[in-house]
């Protein structure tokens, strides 16, 4: 059992309940022991930074201070929400980088009898923990209902890979962790070039037209590539693409139907867990097609025998991918040391 402190964040309890439910459901088969931080508070999302930095950082650092006090043999804090992950990481990093900020934040924390020494915790995103700590081989072993035939667009959003303070990801522009995870579940992963593009964030509140165009691009690209669904790691992305899909369709006169799910939901599905336990049905754009694709799945046919002689290659050969299933850890490590 690997032990982690869990910082769920507000959205996991509200808009992204499907994420939380599915995470709880897959924790056991993965051997992931998550201990929720007691008395945590909101990370402040993106808004507070625009007003005053010290209270914004103090709000986040309170969670870090609590986490450190409650850490029992583990230094790792796991955040499943991208905004929470980024904020925790950011607070830890800037308190380290700017000692003055660190002092002011700690002064604020002192009023609540708390303090936090930056760098004493390790802030991780859930996907990072699942890929690099648990590993693709463990995931593959748990798959009892491979997602064969399901075409998925992997979508990370902008906040997980950038800025990558501690070099956790294979790349900032085109990370491959989610792709490899979905492949391990048996799904067909499409090349989704917008995987780290912004979903529009809170632009839906300020300038909806701008947000609709950003959402449309994401949905249209997945649709053109004949994806059955999009899969994300971020509650904000899920909310925008799921919740504003109807409005976007009305605005542009389009008829897109692109369900968006959390990666943990698909993991649960592949692990043979009942859809209801995984929060299926909570989405606004119904993911029934996804379930149908798995449910009506005929027993897997024996794959056709490969042709005896490889066909004459057409055109010019392509270079092999730099990071793949076999070298993902090694490649990342090399990058970091560079």
């Amino acid at each position: 059992m690997s032990d982690y402190l869990l910082y769920p964040g507000c959205s996991m309890e509200t808009g992204a309940r499907a994420y939380y439910d599915s995470l709880k459901a897959i924790s056991e088969p993965l051997g992931l022991n998550l201990k929720e931080i007691d008395d945590w508070n909101c990370c402040g999302a993106t808004e507070y930074f625009g007003i005053r930095l010290t209270p914004a950082y103090a709000l986040i650092a309170r969670n870090l201070a609590l986490a450190f006090n409650q850490s029992n043999g583990t230094r790792s804090v796991v955040a499943p929400c991208s905004a929470c992950y980024l904020n925790l990481e950011k607070a830890d990093y800037y308190m380290r980088e700017q000692p003055k900020l660190g002092r002011m934040v700690n002064e604020a924390l002192a009023t609540g009898n708390l303090s936090y020494v930056p760098g004493s915790l390790e802030i991780r995103h859930l996907l990072d923990v699942i890929i690099y700590d648990i590993g693709l081989d463990v995931i593959e072993k748990n798959v009892v209902r491979p997602l064969t035939g399901l075409r998925i667009a992997p979508y990370l959003g902008c906040m997980v890979p950038r800025p990558d303070y501690d070099h956790r990801w294979s790349d900032h522009e085109y990370p491959v962790e989610l792709d490899l995870l979905l492949k391990a579940l048996g799904a067909e992963v499409i090349d989704y070039p917008l995987k780290t593009e912004c979903c529009g964030g809170h632009m839906t509140q300020i300038s909806p037209e701008t947000a609709f165009e950003m959402i449309r691009r994401l949905i249209a690209t997945a649709d053109e590539r004949e994806a059955d669904a999009m899969v994300t790691v971020c509650p904000m992305c899920q909310l925008n693409i799921d919740g504003y899909q109807g409005e976007t369709n009305r605005f542009f006169g389009t008829k897109y139907h692109m369900p968006i799910l959390f990666f943990t939901q698909l993991m649960g599905l592949a692990f043979g867990i009942e859809p209801k336990e995984l929060g299926f049905g909570l989405e606004l754009v119904s993911a029934k097609n996804v379930l149908d694709a798995i449910g009506v799945q005929a027993p897997p046919e024996t794959p056709p025998a490969p042709p005896r002689r490889p066909r004459k290659p057409e055109g010019l050969p392509m270079p092999a991918p730099l990071i793949n299933e076999n070298n993902i850890k090694k490649a990342l490590k090399k990058e970091v040391t560079k």
Partner: protein, 680 residues
């Protein structure tokens, strides 16, 4: 020798008669250190420690400055000289020679660095002046312990080894061989030629690379003075300048080179087709038995063992069946050669930056994104498409092409340095693409760098041909369209910094002008040859301006891209320059080495063997019978590692003995502890 000016004879009346010479170095030293005061102080306050005369002069290294020292040696009978000036790296030789000219043993001259270690690193004038006095005081104490030394003379073996058979190495090898001396040219690949052999045209004159390179390759192959060792790698280097012993692994070609006629039937009959990652840059195929290209030198194939069906399954032998002279040797083993050479030239070249690392440009993901080396192969008439510039489908010619500069160079995420050749290479591609396909060509550049002869004229020519130039670093290459006109295209998203606007430019093909990187194993190579390389991995020259060919290790020279990115003319110039340096050495037939060596005082040696493994030059041997260690003075380079390591103090370094070091420290401390002779 007259002894007239002894009015200020030292009170100690010691036998040392020391002259102190303080240099202004223009304003380099005099701007921070009060040199006049320092000289006056030395004359007065160090008199009792043997200083007979102290002078300051504008440029001590000038002939007038040297004459000053020579004159004093002769007239005042100086037997020790202190020059307080720059680092010994720069002018130790100058002043030693001056001393020798005046009849003083050159090793009785000591330099004290008051430029690199004082004036250049301090701004407080009073403190800098005080520090200059302290280091001079240390130097004076040290020089009193100096003894006359004689240089060690070693013979120079006239044979030379050149490592790397690219254009730089070829040039070096030919220059030396033509002068009548023997050269061993070691190349890792099956053929010499290097990267240049992969190119079609060379900038700025657009002459055909093969036409100018292959005659040189043929000359190397047939030269009576060149032993060509291809498919070989250097494993070990022992010895020292003039007398290196190099161990070379000659990998098994699985072909009897004597019997083989180079007819090529084996390649024709081999059933295995493999993507050629080296010569064809991954765009073309070769067989499991192959010569990289038809003009290969030597024209002898190799069998690629990991990909050969015979080694996999034990059957096939198609090549053996068809080989008329029966030259196939499946059981051939690697050969280890031990070669004696006097000098070594390293011309090991570069690797191309791996463009897959810049994921936002999509190389490896978007089929129609190509690297520069791939385009070199596409444009090459002998390449996989016979010189047709086509998209990855192998047939469609592009109608619009975007060339992205500085991929992996001048980028803090990858390499900070400029790769030098990419601007000109991009212009060459622009010209070739335009000429052969009529496509619209865009160049996306940060700065255009077209220095050197006829380069800017070529830039102007390409501009006049209608190539479009956009100044800005490309943010992204994507295949996700936003507008109707972008459908089915690659879209280059770029900030046009001259217009101040974001632009999206749809094109059919993107060429990444990828930068140069040091060889993946350059650090290991540097270690094998005992030279140093920069953080990036480029080999470090002895002096960046005045000695870009030599290294800090005597007898090892560097040429071409191994030292840093450069174009063909510069590589050839360096190759020739390295050869000239080596030829100069060979003609001298022998060489004087610094007599700075370590030696063991046997009575003190306890036989603990701590020093035995530390010597980087393998100069230490242990005598089991007597239980003592001995140092071979010819192999020792005087690095001092063993001297510092010896717990018994049994090892001394000539010129760096414990007495000398302790005396120097005492000299330094005299000023601070006693507070006594501080400035007048």
């Amino acid at each position: 020798m007259t002894e007239k000016v002894i009015a200020n004879a030292s009170p100690l009346d010691s036998q040392e008669r020391i002259g102190v010479y303080v240099c202004h170095c223009g304003t380099n030293i005099a701007g921070v250190v009060d040199v006049v005061q320092v000289a006056e102080w030395a004359a007065k306050q160090l008199k009792h420690r043997g200083v007979v005369i102290a002078r300051e002069y504008k440029f001590m290294c000038s002939s007038l400055g040297q004459e000053l020292i020579e004159k004093d040696i002769k007239e005042l009978g100086l037997n020790r000289v202190i020059v307080a000036a720059c680092s010994p790296h720069l002018h130790e030789k100058t002043f030693r020679t001056a001393c020798a000219n005046a009849g003083l043993n050159p090793f009785l001259c000591e330099m004290v660095s008051i430029r690199e270690q004082v004036s250049w690193v301090h701004t407080d004038k009073a403190a800098a002046t005080a520090k200059a006095k302290a280091v001079i005081s240390g130097g004076v104490e040290r020089v009193r312990h100096h003894v006359p030394l004689e240089p060690i003379v070693v013979p120079i073996n006239p044979a030379t080894m050149v490592v790397g058979g690219g254009i730089a190495g070829i040039q070096s090898a030919l220059e030396i061989a033509d002068a009548g001396f023997h050269v061993y040219l070691v190349e890792r690949e099956p053929s010499i030629g290097g990267h240049m052999a992969q190119f079609d045209k060379t900038f700025p004159t657009l002459d055909c690379a093969a036409c100018i390179l292959t005659p040189k390759m043929v000359s190397v192959g047939s030269h009576p003075n060149i032993t060509l060792l291809t498919w070989s790698e250097v494993e070990k280097v022992d010895g020292y300048v003039g007398n290196f012993t190099v161990t070379v692994r000659k990998k098994a070609r699985k072909i009897d080179e004597e019997l083989c006629t180079g007819c090529g039937i084996c390649q024709e009959k081999c059933p295995r087709k493999i993507i050629d990652d080296v010569y064809e840059a991954g765009l073309g195929y070769r067989k499991a038995v192959y010569t990289p290209f038809p003009q290969a030198v030597p024209n002898r194939p190799v069998i690629d063992v990991p990909n050969c069906t015979y080694y996999e399954k034990g059957t096939c032998k198609a090549c053996e069946i068809f080989c008329a002279p029966k030259a196939i040797r499946f059981d051939q083993q690697d050969e280890i050669l031990t070669l004696e050479v006097g000098n070594i030239i390293l011309a090991t070249g570069y690797d191309l930056f791996d463009a897959r690392r810049v994921t936002n440009y999509g190389y490896g993901r978007l089929p129609n994104v190509f690297t520069s080396l791939e385009i070199e192969r596409l444009t090459n008439a002998a390449g996989p498409t016979n010189g047709n510039i086509v998209l990855r489908d192998g047939k469609t010619a592009p109608k619009s092409v975007g060339i992205v500069h500085c991929v992996g160079s001048r980028d803090r995420n990858f390499n900070n340095y400029c790769s030098v050749i990419c601007c000109m290479q991009s212009l060459k591609f622009a010209h070739l693409v335009h000429e052969r396909t009529g496509a619209t060509v865009y160049n996306f550049y940060i700065d255009m760098r077209t220095a050197f002869k006829d380069y800017d004229e070529f830039y102007q020519r390409v501009m006049e041909e209608g190539t479009l130039f956009v100044r800005g670093k490309v943010a992204e290459v994507t295949n996700v369209p936003r507008y109707e006109t972008e459908k089915g295209k690659l879209i280059i998203q770029v900030e046009d910094t001259l217009v101040g606007k974001q632009r999206r430019i749809p094109v059919d093909m993107v060429i990444l002008s990828t930068g140069l990187e040091p060889r993946k194993d350059s650090k290991e190579i540097a270690k094998t040859f005992g030279i140093s390389c920069s953080v990036n991995g480029w080999f470090i020259e002895k002096h960046p301006k005045l000695d870009p060919i030599a290294t800090m290790t005597e007898g090892i020279f560097i040429a071409g891209c191994a030292q840093g990115p450069k174009d063909i003319p510069s590589s050839v110039a360096q190759g020739a320059a390295a050869a000239a340096r080596v030829l100069g050495r060979i003609e001298q037939k022998q060489m004087a080495l610094e007599p700075v060596r370590a030696s063991v005082i046997e009575e003190k040696c306890s036989g603990c063997r701590i020093c035995n493994g530390l010597c980087p030059f393998n100069a230490i041997t242990f005598h089991e019978d007597r239980m003592v260690t001995e140092i071979n003075p010819a192999l020792c380079q005087g690095c001092g590692t063993c001297v510092a390591a010896c717990p018994a103090g049994a090892i001394t370094g000539t010129g760096f003995s414990n007495d000398q070091i302790m005396a120097q420290i005492e000299g330094l401390m005299m000023l601070n502890v006693d507070q006594e002779p501080v400035a007048a």
